[in-house]
């Protein structure tokens, strides 16, 4: 089975801090995605990547950036964390066919 590992399960950061959320997948998937999930808003796509060093904006990229230096790793960066970025962050990967995404367990980030 594909495994998607997110580095932290829970994270508490201060407003203005630069925050790195790491995601690693172990099945050589081309595509990787970052979502955030909030009550009443569902899952929203932040950024995605179809290949190393490639990135595409999702529906809500403002305040975020990403890095994909290696195929297996996709990092989400909060340049200057704000309280409205408190959320559950989910990473996913998929094959090039785009079916059967595998999600990580999520990182619950609290910005205080």
């Amino acid at each position: 089975d594909v495994k998607v590992t997110q580095s932290s399960r829970y994270l508490v950061k201060r407003t203005g801090e630069k925050v790195f959320l790491e995601c690693v997948q172990d099945m050589d998937h081309e595509n990787m995605f970052w979502y955030r999930q909030d009550p009443g808003l569902g899952l929203r796509l932040i950024y995605f990547s179809y290949d190393v060093k490639m990135k595409e904006k999702g529906d809500i990229p403002e305040g975020y950036s990403v890095s994909r230096e290696k195929k297996e790793r996709f990092s989400l960066i909060l340049e200057s964390a704000s309280t409205n970025q408190t959320s559950m962050y989910l990473c996913a990967s998929s094959t090039g066919q785009g079916y059967g995404y595998t999600f990580g367990s999520g990182t619950r980030l609290t910005v205080v």
């Binding site: 995605f33 569902g42 559950m88 989910l90 996913a92 066919q97 995404y101 367990s105 619950r108």
Partner: protein, 109 residues
């Protein structure tokens, strides 16, 4: 991307069959219907996918009529552990998963 519409919540009892219907009137020719399940504090998990007619796996069945404007996820004999949010998505090959609100299924003893 096709917009999907599904009930916000459903209640059921253990042992019953649950059918969750999803509407996707503007589905594209090359879109597949894909269902995901999400438990609290976990990422969504792929359940089943189909293009038309009926698909069955060890977890669920998926019924898609000929016009493909709707689909029904069928969960046989649900248990308490099937309490989760179920998402219906229309997805093309190589496409992005765009989630709607999902259906919150509550299974009671």
């Amino acid at each position: 991307l096709a917009k999907t519409t599904q009930p916000i919540s459903m209640d059921s009892y253990e042992g019953q069959e649950v059918n969750i219907t999803c509407s996707h009137n503007n589905i594209a020719t090359n879109d597949y219907i894909t269902w995901y399940q999400q438990f609290p504090s976990q990422g969504p998990r792929f359940i089943i996918q189909g293009y038309k007619t009926k698909v069955t796996n060890e977890v669920a069945s998926l019924f898609i009529p000929a016009d493909r404007k709707s689909s029904t996820l069928s969960l046989p004999r649900v248990s308490l552990s099937d309490t989760a949010v179920y998402y219906c998505l229309a997805l093309s090959q190589g496409g992005k998963l765009i989630f709607g609100q999902g259906t919150e299924l509550s299974v009671k003893p």
